[in-house]
Amino acid sequence: MIKGLALEQVRIGLGGRALVAIDRVVAPGDVLTVMGPSGSGKSSLLAFVGGFLDPSFAVEGRVCLDGTDVTALAPEMRRIGLLFQDALLFPHLSVGGNLAFGLAPSIRGRAARAAAVTAMLEEIDLTGFEARDPATLSGGQQARVALGRTLLSAPRALLLDEPFSRFDMSLKETMRRFVFGLIQSRAIPTLLVTHDPADAQAAGGDVVSLGDAA
């Protein structure tokens, strides 16, 4: 069995035009960075892996998680976490509510779930933030809550869509270290889409450029 996230002979095209061709395995804890100019199909690749690709795209190939084919599964059955450049915290829920929304249903009981949320808040350096309104958090704090929400769902892989592009220089540095550290310590295979070479460098893994490689 191949551990991690395997993209097997994945080809994505639109209207007869080929966009993406990739055949890779991302090992647990590794980050595969996909780079390329806009329109090169980076987002289509992420949407395909996540299960959100518009059916007007033509696709070939399989997405496998730890040896299981998930290509035919609905997004909510895949357990592949998503992070966008916007935190997209649910505005009607508290910070704790956002985290609990992500927390896997396998953790049962009010006390156990509250404890899991509290532990995650500690891990993302936001101890005591349970009742806070997400709209009052800084950009970096919101991004950390979004990451915590995803991690609590115990994802088998992560998809990062330009996750640092909204931050200023110094915050970018901090957030990269934070995010990639957690990915490594939790051994989650990760697909990172970016146009910033510094992101790729900080991620430390392989880089696929959709402009010139297939």
Partner: protein, 595 residues
């Protein structure tokens, strides 16, 4: 990149070549049950309208076995055409629709042109929104109390002009239908204005105005030539609805319109309720004529659209800039402001009347205020009030549930790209039908059908007929916010392992609580304001606050009229007030949920 992927592009990836793979890319393909909702809603709307029209055509040609009409003949149409003043009635209806729409639309254009891109517009929007809730009948009563010879305006004029008897002119019920048109304009102008304001962002007013002004155009010319065409294109359906409504309205026309002869729709209602049942053949023939009058009005309007479009192109080609339009701007906002002021002042006058003991002309205020009229009238008003409340609450709730299911089905189908646009064509037509086809043209046929089926007047029957008119407005109110919610929220929720139903209940509905509450209030207001459906389906056995208010309006006592008009206006206003405060209460302390 094209070069790098040439090897790939030589084997084109087409849908047709990969049928087996396609299934895998849309694993969230919508459930069959949910997908049956849009056709169901369309059937619910179009079914009664089309069945009702069919039920009118047959009696119009003499076929109505229950009343002894077993063969087809042109007799009903002949009798109809022999009715005195029929041409005048039809002309009044035609003019009522066209003049109302034209003046109201020009008023909206003037107000927007003078205020677009300024803070005044946002203030106006907030100020005018409650006026939308005021039922047509209450607004008409208010205008009558304001402008009648013994009304508030003449009381104000009496002292400076030195007269102490009401002057002699006919208002309401003037033979040219001016009072009727004034009433409709005052009520429809806020409606069209709010619809236009909602459509404004898509016309990019800031950028286009900045551009036009940098080319030397004044605000009014810049807005009219560069922004308005895009706004108008989006609000055509509401404009058509205003025209159709104006040509066929019964309650406002009964309160304000001419009486000798009355408008076509009022006369048809009279024939329908005539104790002489053979009059029903004339009523059916009249309903057909009404359908024709409304169709002609819409066709004429189409001609006006072409002319106005040509004029706009001509002005733009000529470079008409109207650069110094400050004083013109003050002028063009007047129609809308006068309409709003008349509506508000009329309602206040009506309320004052309901508390008045004695109020002689030309006194500006009653001698003293009393609760006597209220304590005397309220007991009898409670039952119709309860009926309105029950029918409004039930029909708006059912409509909201159906519209939610409908929009969610459309959204998921759109995600799965089974449809090119958000709304399939058959649904657009079905949603427009109840707004465009005159109520009187098909309700009569519907009632005949109910009688044939042995359905007697009942609350469920009244609720289901109200649904036909409530659903389109609830759908119009909810569609934009529904499709505007960032789809990435739902993608994140799915990636966190949440199923579509949980995402709908725990994310989408709570996040859209504000628009949902507003849509519910809109539906409630539409239901409470319905006159003809309640009159015809209720058949006198289910009086609502609106049928009672209209029936009393022709009577003499302004105090009692005042009580009913206040009650009728209070129901929807309360609903809107609740809708506005509910999200704030539910989502207190969530800054991201503030509108």
């Amino acid at each position: 990149m094209a070069g790098a992927l040439r090897s790939l592009s030589q084997r084109p990836l087409s849908k047709a070549a990969q049928p087996a793979q396609l299934r895998t890319t849309a694993p969230w393909l919508p459930g069959r049950l949910l997908q049956s909702v849009p056709p169901l809603v369309a059937l619910l709307l179009a079914g009664p309208v089309l069945a009702g029209l069919a039920g009118v055509v047959l009696p119009a040609f003499g076929y109505l076995p229950d009343l002894g009409g077993t063969g087809l003949s042109l007799q009903p149409l002949r009798v109809l055409l022999d009715q005195p003043g029929l041409a005048t009635s039809a002309a009044l209806s035609l003019a009522g629709g066209l003049v109302t729409a034209a003046v109201a639309l020009l008023g909206v254009l003037g107000l927007l042109a003078a205020t677009a891109g300024t803070r005044k517009l946002a203030l106006l929007q907030q100020g005018l929104a409650p006026l939308l809730a005021v039922p047509h009948a209450a607004a008409a009563v208010g205008l009558a109390v304001l402008l009648a010879p013994s009304g508030m305006l003449m009381r104000l004029a009496a002292l400076p002009l030195g007269f102490d008897r009401p002057p002699d002119y006919l208002f309401p019920h003037d033979p040219f239908g001016l009072a009727l048109m004034a009433g409709l304009i005052a009520k429809e102008m806020p409606f069209l204005l709010l619809v236009a304001i909602a459509a404004l962002p898509q016309a990019e007013p800031e950028r286009r105005l900045r551009l036009a002004r940098s080319l030397g155009y004044g605000r009014i010319a810049g807005f009219t030539l560069a922004v308005w065409p895009s706004v108008y294109r989006q609000i055509r359906l509401p404009v058509f609805a205003v025209i159709a409504y104006g040509t066929a309205v019964v309650d406002v026309a009964a309160i304000l319109g001419p009486s000798a002869p009355a408008t076509l729709a009022v006369r048809i209602t009279g024939w329908m309720n005539d104790p002489d049942l053979s009059r029903r053949f004339i009523a059916a023939a009249g309903a057909l004529l009404q359908l024709g009058v409304t169709a002609v009005a819409l066709i004429v309007w189409r001609g006006i659209e072409v002319l106005a479009g040509g004029l706009s192109l001509h002005l733009a080609a000529a470079g008409t800039r109207l650069p110094h339009d400050r004083s013109l701007r003050r002028l063009v906002i007047l129609p809308a402001l006068i309409a709003a002021a008349a509506l508000i002042a009329g309602l206040f006058a009506v309320m004052l009347w309901s508390f008045a003991a004695v109020w002689r002309f030309p006194d500006l205020l009653p001698d003293r205020l009393t609760l006597a009229t209220w304590t005397r009238t309220l007991p009898a008003a409670l039952r119709p009030l309860g009926t309105s409340l029950a029918v409004g609450a039930a029909s708006s709730t059912v409509a909201l549930v159906l519209v939610i299911a409908n929009l969610e089905a459309l959204r998921r189908r759109h995600l799965a790209s089974l449809e090119g646009s958000d709304v399939p064509a058959y649904l657009t037509v079905a949603l427009a039908l109840p707004l465009i086809v005159p109520q009187i043209a098909f309700l009569f046929g519907l009632e005949t059908g109910f009688l044939a089926l042995g359905l007697s007047p009942s609350l469920p029957l009244l609720i289901s007929v109200h649904l036909v008119f409530v659903i389109p407005y609830v759908a119009l109110a909810l569609a934009d916010p529904w499709f505007a919610l960032d789809p990435r929220y739902e993608q994140i929720a799915a990636s966190l392992g949440r199923r579509p139903l949980a995402v709908l209940l725990r994310l989408r509905l709570p996040m859209l609580l504000g628009p949902l509450a507003t849509a519910l209030a809109v539906g409630f207001a539409v239901s409470v304001g319905q006159y003809l459906p309640s009159l015809i389906v209720g058949a006198g056995r289910l009086p609502t606050i609106t049928t009672e208010a209209v029936a009393l309006a022709s009577g003499g006592d302004r105090r009692i009229i005042g009580v009913y008009a206040v009650l009728q206006a209070a129901l929807p206003l309360l609903a809107f007030a609740l809708a506005a405060s509910l999200p704030a209460l539910r989502h207190a302390g969530r800054r991201g949920m503030r509108a």
